[in-house]
């Protein structure tokens, strides 16, 4: 259970994030025109006049109640802001990781089966190209092709079937490449094992050897990569949502950073980290379920 100390560390880091800011948060919230008395009132209201340990106590008890402070920009609780934008990102990221995993594993298997063939070379090259293409360029390329030239899909993304196609494709490509490469090497490694050779030696067809014996075992480590990729995909939403003006958490993060809306940035960083920790936890549990040799104490 590595998640608990990591979680505590993340909370401490995020607490100090706002304290490390240049300038006075109370003055920022009150506005540049506010007089000294107003700034002082805000400071007391925000609890900034107390000692650091006391402030940390307030911060943690606030977190426990789901209180992340007030957004400077939107003038509403950060928690409300987060819930408003959470669904859009969840839909986008889940779709993208599903597409990336299914297609990635499929391509990886195809490449491994036809090792060193033209198919393998093609899939491997496209995977590396996918990993190397910046999401912001791919997004713009897809917008140009499908929205400007062909006019079949909208420029801006939204939570609708048509509005999700381009952002999902953009977000999925990099992870797809990584998953395909990993699935390929994992399957090749498994095929090299003794028990696979035994299966071949007892006269089974190649297809049967791969499907029945090698495939299942080779997919176990792929789960780890998918979990990791989900984290990078979440961070990728920042760029993709900005390119497509898709109003999810990533888009909100950039808006908040530009407005120097520190409470919102703080809340968003926390939510992103929590999601990543939760995913890793789920991967660990899945791993144990699929491979009974692994136990956690």
């Amino acid at each position: 259970m590595q998640a608990v100390p990591t979680l505590i560390g993340v909370i401490i880091l995020i607490f100090f994030f706002v304290r490390a800011l240049p300038g006075d948060p109370a003055r920022l919230y009150a506005g540049v025109d506010a007089d000294a008395a107003t700034v002082q009132a805000v400071r007391v209201q925000m609890g900034l006049d107390r000692s650091l340990p006391e402030q940390f106590g307030y911060f943690v008890s606030g977190l426990a109640r789901g209180d992340l402070g007030m957004s400077f920009r939107a003038r509403m609780p950060v928690s409300t802001l987060l819930t408003q934008h959470f669904r859009a990102t969840l839909v986008l990221a889940s779709l993208a990781i599903t597409v990336a995993t299914l297609l990635g594993v499929l391509l990886g298997i195809m490449a491994a089966r036809k090792r060193n063939s033209i198919v393998d070379l093609g899939i491997t090259s496209v995977s590396v190209l996918g990993i190397s293409t910046p999401a912001f360029f791919l997004g713009i390329l897809l917008i140009y092709l499908f929205a400007v030239k062909l006019r079949v899909l909208p420029v801006a993304g939204s939570v609708s079937v048509k509005g999700l196609v381009l952002p999902t494709a953009t977000l999925a490509v990099a992870s797809l490449g990584t998953i395909a490469r990993f699935a390929r090497s994992s399957l090749l490694e498994t095929i090299g094992n003794d028990y696979v050779r035994t299966a071949t030696a007892k006269g089974l067809s190649r297809a049967r050897v791969v499907n029945k014996h090698a495939l299942r075992n080779s997919l176990i480590p792929v789960i780890t990569i998918v979990g990791l990729q989900f984290g990078f995909l979440l961070s990728g939403t920042v760029i993709v949502e900005t390119v497509f003006n898709y109003h999810g958490l990533g888009w909100l993060l950039i808006q908040s950073v530009e407005a120097r809306d520190y409470p919102a940035v703080q809340g968003l960083m926390l939510v992103f980290a929590l999601q990543f920790i939760a995913i890793n936890l789920i991967v660990d549990v899945l791993y144990g379920l699929i491979d009974p040799r692994i136990t956690y104490d």
Binding site: P22, P134, F136, G236, I239, V243, I254, A273, F276
Partner: protein, 291 residues
Amino acid sequence: MTERVAPAKRAKSAFSRSTFGKLLHHRSGSVGLVLTGMFVTLAVVGPWIAPYSPSAPNYAHLAAGSTAEHWLGTDAFGRDTLSRILAGARYSVTIGLAATLIGALVGGSWGVLAGFLGGWFDNLSMRLVDVLLAFPGILIAIGLVTLTGPGVGPVVFASAVFGIPVFARLARGSTLEVKSRAFIEAANALGMQRLQVMGRHVVPQVIAPILVYATLRSGSTLLVASGLSFLGLGVQAPAPEWGGMLSDAQLWLAVQPLMAFSPGVTITLAVLGFNLLGDGLRDVLDPSVRR
């Protein structure tokens, strides 16, 4: 002093000579070597060979397509795109490489220390690494530029920190492996100082895997750095940074797509070069890993 430097130097040149030859015979590795070499050269000579000034506007040719004078067209201010890409190599490539090297150096030293010293320092360090890794990809860099504000220095800093936890974990792993080998035991038995053992025997062994990984990592660091500039949080206009150029061109996509395609293809090729070179290096140095 000479005694200490000489064996390390010899080992290093043998390492690079044979590696270089093998790389040239590695299909994707050689492509990566050529691309990387080209971009690193551009980072040095780019601003000198640019046919026009990267910042001089030309209101007679606004958002032009490819012509004999402007091979890659011009941008919204009539500035020559090819010149901006050439001059911009000094920003984009240098930032990517500098950030990777700083990340490798700081993270690598941290990891070696943690692995070598062990105990509470190692425990605390690895917990901290876990915490930093909980902010995946570009997120940690965005968090940092929120504190520092935009600019070249902050982008280098933020992109370097993006690499530190990964390098620390890698260096720690390699250090633990080296530490368990017999020659370290022998050095300890001979009564060498702990720091001497670390400097003379552990560090030289750990450098190779870190260098390979740094090559592989340069690509993603470049992506993060240019991503920050694309988001408006990194290098600011009018500097010809590739990510920033792409961001400016987005508004003109329907009018002049070449304005966006040129920097986009350039970044992709640069990242591709580092990724292929990294893959090639890994294959050549460690043939047991098939990826």
